[in-house]
């Protein structure tokens, strides 16, 4: 199939080159063949809403390509980002398993391919294949770990620069493969706006802007559009105390 949105659409899970890298895709061929029969592949533009908080769980989405933000509304009525989902993650999992409304809205941050599986098909798939049960449990554990880390960050971090440094360090775990101007430079793709970073870090857009300017002034960070270069990772690490 012709490339769309700068990526190749993966129609067949059995032929996917990324299956070994993704938690929920690295199944034996027999399981992938069963998955192939129940999934519906779709491609979404940036900004598409896959599901909405409070909506009855229709099923799950396996993120094949692209990233998506999971957001909800805080007790104070503000929009907050719970986390950013990466390729290979299953979205809407806890709601589908427990038949409760979706906990968060999922919006694509870039052109995205996602495989949808209806709740009934997914639960049967889970019951019939032990491997799927293991991965579902691992995915939910991973999601809990992210939530606990976020609680730690929001509740125990001392300052906004620390929270933003943590975010940058987390994103640096998925660096872009670009030619480096300096040996220790780490390039990352940031598709979040400053407003969204503020929602993630629990602060205001103005404060995010000020902190990022400070990081740039100190020579820790370069920003060129959506490509950000962390030029002094140790300095950011020193900021993180929790």
């Amino acid at each position: 199939m012709a490339p769309a949105y700068n990526f190749q659409i993966i129609e067949n899970c059995l032929k996917c080159q990324h299956r070994e890298d993704h938690l929920f895709c690295n199944f034996p061929n027999s399981v992938l063949a069963a998955l192939q029969k129940i999934k519906a592949t779709s491609v979404y533009p940036k900004g598409a809403l896959l599901c909405i908080e409070g909506q009855a769980p229709r099923g799950v989405y396996i993120l094949c390509t692209g990233r998506a933000k999971l957001s909800t509304t805080s007790a104070e009525g503000k929009s907050i980002i719970l986390r950013i989902a990466e390729p290979g993650e299953v979205l809407g999992l806890s709601s589908a398993v427990s038949d409760t409304p979706y906990e968060a809205s999922v919006e694509t941050l870039e052109p995205t391919q996602a495989n949808f599986i209806s709740r009934t098909d997914f639960l049967n798939f889970l019951k019939e294949h032990t491997d799927v049960g293991v991965r579902v449990a691992q995915q939910l554990t991973h999601n809990c770990k992210c939530a606990y880390d976020e609680i730690r960050s929001l509740g125990l971090s001392n300052s906004v620069p620390e929270k933003i440094a943590k975010l940058l360090l987390h994103w640096s775990e998925h660096p872009l493969n670009l030619p480096k101007k300096k040996p220790n430079e780490i390039a990352i793709r940031v598709t979040l706006t400053q407003e969204e970073i503020a929602q993630f870090a629990g602060t205001s857009r103005e404060t995010v802007s000020r902190v990022l300017s400070e990081f740039k002034r100190k020579g820790w960070l370069n920003i060129r559009g959506a490509t950000w270069c962390i030029t002094n990772k140790p300095a950011l690490e020193k900021l993180v105390t929790t």
Partner: protein, 182 residues
Amino acid sequence: MTAVTSCWGFSGYIGTMNHIAVSGQNTNTDTNTNELYAPLPVEIRHKLEKHEQTKTVASGTRLISQGVLPACLFIINSGSVEVSVPSCGKSITVAVAGSGKVFGLHALVSGELPRVNVTSLEECAITLIPKEKFAEILQSNPQIYLAIAKVLSQDLRIADDLLRRIPRGAGPGRRFNGHKVN
């Protein structure tokens, strides 16, 4: 069993000055019912029950420690425990759980070190299942995974709910309704 599952569960928070209490009312007369067993067929429950050990622990006993793989699955039969996220000598309370709550599943299914501490707040009666025995039964009865997924989903909902409640910009030493920073 379905009715039991829906009626016990962690149906919500009981907010107090400094902690979130999770209601874990078990209305079933079967004292062995907990969030993991409730959706399971009787024959699998019996297999698990064969390996159960019961114990009473004093207030302040650490059942799960951050960074230490638990050797057992813990089921709270009576009393209450605090689940907290620690960091650098400080901690934030995620929930207070009561009877029917199961701990140790995260580490057991993923092999990852726990991110939380679980500490008894009073004398608690608990049931323990050695992780090796649980893993054996799990291997031969994969339908347990759906029950595990339901427990983990509940844990995730509690954590996400706390994330919604944490006032943005709150830092250490600041007390806010529903949970505390020590």
